[in-house]
């Protein structure tokens, strides 16, 4: 599976202790309370977690605004460190939105202590393998440049600042 540079990197600080943020990802009742966009919900009897290296997290997503959708998520956990790390392959299938085929994506979530008891979440996501075979490096840089490029296509001078435009 993808081991190169992730195409999506998100870093965000939460005003909560690390163990609580970790539980928000690993406790079924917690995850069901926040996962997905507004209107998204996870039927409680279809959530099954076995959080450990080699374990899994499975759930179904439905959305009140679109009763036709029924998204099945199966995460095969490859690497787990209690309170610190979740890394695995997320398999997305079921009745998906128009134009979306079932796919797999590697997802890595790290939980770091910040000052004042806050927690920094580091999320990395890799594109589905059928969409990309990224070389071992340069993706982030490439997309940073592309973003800068796209907003300046054919401008007289394209500014290639290494600003991570698509990184929070």
């Amino acid at each position: 599976m993808t081991t190169g540079t992730p195409q999506l990197v998100i870093s965000r600080v939460f005003d909560a202790p690390r163990d609580l943020v970790y539980r928000a990802f690993t406790d079924p009742d917690h995850l069901a309370a926040w996962w997905g966009p507004i209107g998204n919900s996870l039927p409680r009897d279809e959530i099954e977690f076995d959080v450990r290296p080699g374990g899994f997290q499975r759930w179904t997503e439905v959305n009140a605004s679109n009763p036709g959708l029924r998204v099945r998520i199966h995460v095969d956990l490859t690497d787990v460190a209690d309170g610190e790390l979740l890394d695995g392959i997320m398999h997305v299938s079921g009745r998906l939105p128009e134009g979306i085929e079932p796919f797999e994506t590697r997802l890595r979530v790290e939980f770091h202590d910040e000052a004042d008891g806050r927690t920094r979440l580091e999320i990395r996501q890799w594109l589905p393998e059928h969409l990309a075979h990224p070389s071992a490096e340069g993706w982030r840089q490439a997309f940073t440049k592309l973003d800068a490029t796209l907003t300046n296509v054919h401008a007289v001078a394209t500014d290639h600042r290494e600003v991570a435009v698509w990184q929070s």
């Binding site: 999506l8 939460f14 005003d15 690993t26 997905g36 969409l131 340069g138 592309l146 796209l150």
Partner: protein, 124 residues
Amino acid sequence: MAGTDQLSAVFSALSDPTRRAIIAELAERDATVTELTAPLSISMPAVSRHLKVLESAALISRSRSGKWRASHLESAPLREAADWIARYRRLWDASLTRLDAHLAAVQAAGPATDRTADDPGEPE
């Protein structure tokens, strides 16, 4: 949104650092094979091969007028690729905003949580 096949071709074309360098160059101006080869440490035939890949992914077009065939960057497929990433970013942003609210609610409602950084947490 482009079809998966086109997107796949775009990402595959962009997976090579030389081709990304060529794209960056073409973002500034149209250029001939000779002009594109100059800053690179590879041969002109190699650059031509990269241009063929970029062309088949519709990332560039090449003028057929006159003696010098200039390559021109087509921004639409790049935009598609960037959109794909952006869509996932938006999904995360929506979720994480809800997570923020959830964490605040849990801490406000529950028994006082130990706020020390070294709290080992509860066994699952």
